[in-house]
Subunit: 326 residues, 2 copies
Amino acid sequence: MKIMIRDSIDGNSNTFFSIGIDIGGTNTDIGLVSHEGILNARHNLKTTQYFDAQLFVNDIVSVICKLMSENNIEKITGIGIGAPCGNFYEGTIDDAKNLNFRGKTPLKKMIETQLHVPIVVTNDANAAVYGEMIYGGAKGMKDVVMFTLGTGVGGGIIIDGKLLYGSDGFAGELGHSILVPGSNRTCTCGSKGCLEMYASIRGVVQTCVELLEQFPENELAKIPRELLSPKIIADAADKGNAVAIETYRKTGEWLGIALANAVVFSSPEAIFLAGGIAKAGEILLKPTRESFAKHKLFIYKNDIPVLMSRLNENEAAILGAASLVF
Amino acid sequence: MKIMIRDSIDGNSNTFFSIGIDIGGTNTDIGLVSHEGILNARHNLKTTQYFDAQLFVNDIVSVICKLMSENNIEKITGIGIGAPCGNFYEGTIDDAKNLNFRGKTPLKKMIETQLHVPIVVTNDANAAVYGEMIYGGAKGMKDVVMFTLGTGVGGGIIIDGKLLYGSDGFAGELGHSILVPGSNRTCTCGSKGCLEMYASIRGVVQTCVELLEQFPENELAKIPRELLSPKIIADAADKGNAVAIETYRKTGEWLGIALANAVVFSSPEAIFLAGGIAKAGEILLKPTRESFAKHKLFIYKNDIPVLMSRLNENEAAILGAASLVF
């Protein structure tokens, strides 16, 4: 398949369109986005099905073509992609532990051979925080940090209105800052005590399991470990289950320290939380804010609000990725 | 005293001069710096003697005038000041815990009423890392992190060739990132487990004292605690004293984690260490590098060297502060 797509505006209006792609460990969401930040249409691929990067790229290209033809779009400005271990400088995915195709995948180059438009690859959390700044709750802000709390914990940092990439494109891997030295929780990255081991799906479940060892009479102990999920724990917390509440209190306590540590680095105007774990809402947000207030260095006199992402899940990354090419 | 100093070049040559000031808790160093980065002359004030900011400013102005007249300089480009809790945006020192005059000191405004030249106030560690980038071992680099290990632990972060200030001017307070949650070491900032409590003068001595409680027969146990210093411990380590060696090994282990955590934030090309504690040399540097290598996230494929500052102590901050006005 070889398609020429020029970098131009849609013939029927003054609206520009681009494609935003959010590659996650489970799903890949592909959306058609207008320059006003409206997600016109989206399709979905099951990332887990792909053990071969070329087949994955072929299907991504097919979906893009389908989205364009379904919406009568002849031209797009470009394609923005947020991916785990997305390398902005090289346009590659570098050995992402939660994808089935390993090594260095030259994503930008592979898509370029089929679609001749500008392509930007970035980290998924970078795409999310960029989307939040352009279209979400961080609109008008110039210094922002976002933590995405899901299967893993990602970080995206905006400095003076620009995404922070650093010397090799991988700045902002906040999930792998070591929060608890000497911890017995070994991360997928090989280190122990990473933030990811305390504020991801696995981290929250682990905290709950450790508490249940102390309180085996608790209702949640009846649920097999492999079925325990942050959602089940959050629902139990809402009903007053003490272990569930304590699970989120501890998670918030740890997360608040990570937030305070982010502030001494980049002194943001606000910190945003996104991802499945953040959906727990106040049961997580309250202890997080309390811990953050307790641990935030006195020198920062301004209020630094801890806010939930204002964009729907996945939308932030699709919109952010798409807006990187506008 | 009211002196007009124009923003111009020295009448006798094509050399520009500025004044660099490094305000430390103990000493304030004031230097005359040429635009080639040569420290032509310097004088010193005892910071501890000043309980009144106005008297401090008056004496700084006197020293500047003295430096200029001694060196036949009629005009300076400006004055750059590195100070603890130096607020870049407001030109103030904000409630520095290790100065005898408290509250918010409007340093820039106070000097401006006497000397009519551009004045820049920044954090002392920011000045040091900037000096390192312009004149020292980080020359040619664009993404650098520096840890200054002394009475306190400071941090300076360079992103894409520019100092990172963040939303309120206080980015890079790396000494107050919480390294050991639940630690019993309470920092001057009020938090527990800050990096400063492990890698400053006080931190190193505390580590040694805790080890001596386990090994009361060690030679160092004969020295009264108030006389123990990082220098004495480093000298003992060089002679093979096991507790002294273990003190620096533990310090390096902690510091290496802090370095790895800095990398996931800003992905620098190199990390620099400066300050009195860094003078211990290999006895600290070796375990620091080992711990850093162990804890650095796998995704960073490039070598990120851990280097000692190439500038003499204090010179980096004077040169860096001075170069901020060029």
